[in-house]
Symmetry: none
Subunit: 249 residues, 2 copies
């Protein structure tokens, strides 16, 4: 009988762009098991005909579904429904945001990353990226002079280094950790406080990192970044924080 999946297009929403509507309709079709995992969608031309839109719209809709991991396209072959993706992203429970131990743990994570990030940046940085790093470093001093707390500038500095790795995942993860830390420290305070009093030392640490990256010295960059993170933990740790659990026995 009807072995071929039907294309019963319910009257799609009357709001939003055509791409939005087609996207929604396709998502619904896939979800309603008319097209199971591995099934091939009709060709873009066919879908354009069925929906009464141009292939442009279909392509944009499919592109979105691709970015959501629902389908995958193979050139010359077609568009196929993906297996249910166990898309469990990495997240940090916001409930831990005001927990100081969590902050230290996240910084510990950063310590692991920043060392490698600095090393890779020292190896791969382009002159343009080096300039961006130097600008960001200067931005910290400016912010400080302007009376700003300098948190944003500090983040921008570390971000510019992460960007120089040419590995977007380092940048994305750094970004993510920073959003957590800024929100967390906004609760626990103590960031600006410690930062202000020790700004000289921090500035020195930053300079060491930049110098190493400028010199293409991966090992020195790694060491400088690690030292920077270590000091950051100590600053936070000494700022009236409870100690992390240490290796007991």
């Amino acid at each position: 009988m009807d072995s071929a999946p039907q294309f019963n297009v319910e009257p799609i929403a009357v709001t939003g762009t055509l791409t939005d509507r087609v996207c929604e309709a396709l998502t619904q079709l896939i979800a309603s098991e008319d097209f199971g995992a591995g099934a091939r969608l009709p060709s873009e031309q066919q879908m354009a005909g069925r929906f009464g839109v141009s292939r442009t719209v279909i392509r944009e809709a499919v592109s979105r579904l691709k970015s959501e991991g629902l389908v995958e396209s193979r050139q010359g072959s077609g568009v196929f429904v993906r297996e249910r993706n166990i898309d469990t992203p990495f997240r940090i429970d916001p409930a831990l945001m005001d927990c100081r131990q969590s902050v230290l743990q996240v910084i510990e994570l950063r310590q692991a990353l920043e060392g490698e990030i600095a090393a890779l940046a020292a190896t791969r940085r382009t002159p343009a990226q080096m300039t961006a790093i130097r600008d960001a470093l200067a931005g910290i001093a400016e912010a400080e002079a302007a009376g700003d707390d300098g948190v944003d500038a500090d983040i921008a500095f570390h971000r510019s280094i992460a960007a120089a790795t040419d590995n977007p995942h380092f940048l994305a993860l750094t970004e993510f950790l920073f959003t957590f830390l800024t929100h967390a420290t906004r609760i626990t305070r103590g960031y600006e406080a410690t930062k202000r009093t020790l700004s000289l030392q921090v500035k020195d640490e930053h300079q060491h990192i930049v110098d190493a990256i400028a010199a293409n010295d991966a090992e020195a960059a790694r060491a400088a970044a690690r030292q920077h993170m270590k000091c950051a933990m100590q600053r936070l740790g000494s700022a009236n924080l409870k100690k992390l659990r240490q290796p007991s026995a």
Copy 2:
């Protein structure tokens, strides 16, 4: 001076579709705060000119960014960077799952983490955790003997080490990266293949890590784990990866 955001487009990645590359480049540009929240991107035509691609490609890339919530487009006005949500989790674009470069980049991320994880584990591990690590190592051999591909056992091994850091975020992040890698390598294949042929070397690397952790030697553990990851990258890099066709028939 020129306050307008620069558009220093470095040569983008040489793999994947044009849309993939542009998408990645734009994400990086937005993340690197050349374009802060609320800023307007250049018009699609301008971007097409700068990247040297057609407007079609730009539109599909922007469409993906829209579906990820990074930007929003207003007809007649332009494309604007959206305020980053507080709890946007760290995730990896599923569209990059079959991109071999992404796999290597994620492994590079793991390389940064595993070194520190091993070092921390060596410092903090409890006897019980040490036992768990040894059991996991033995589990790899058992799985291998049983004819299993040993992927799950390998994951369990690294997980047991991450658990010994007493920092739950290391465990969670490792977990996340593994789910990505398993899904990705299930597409690109080559994991078991390379693993089988080089299992002796892998086993040796594992043993070195365990020994260092057992001896509470943080530096040795870090070195061993980094070496392990480095080799993993080389193995994947040399392996002849090919996209896998879904067995729909």
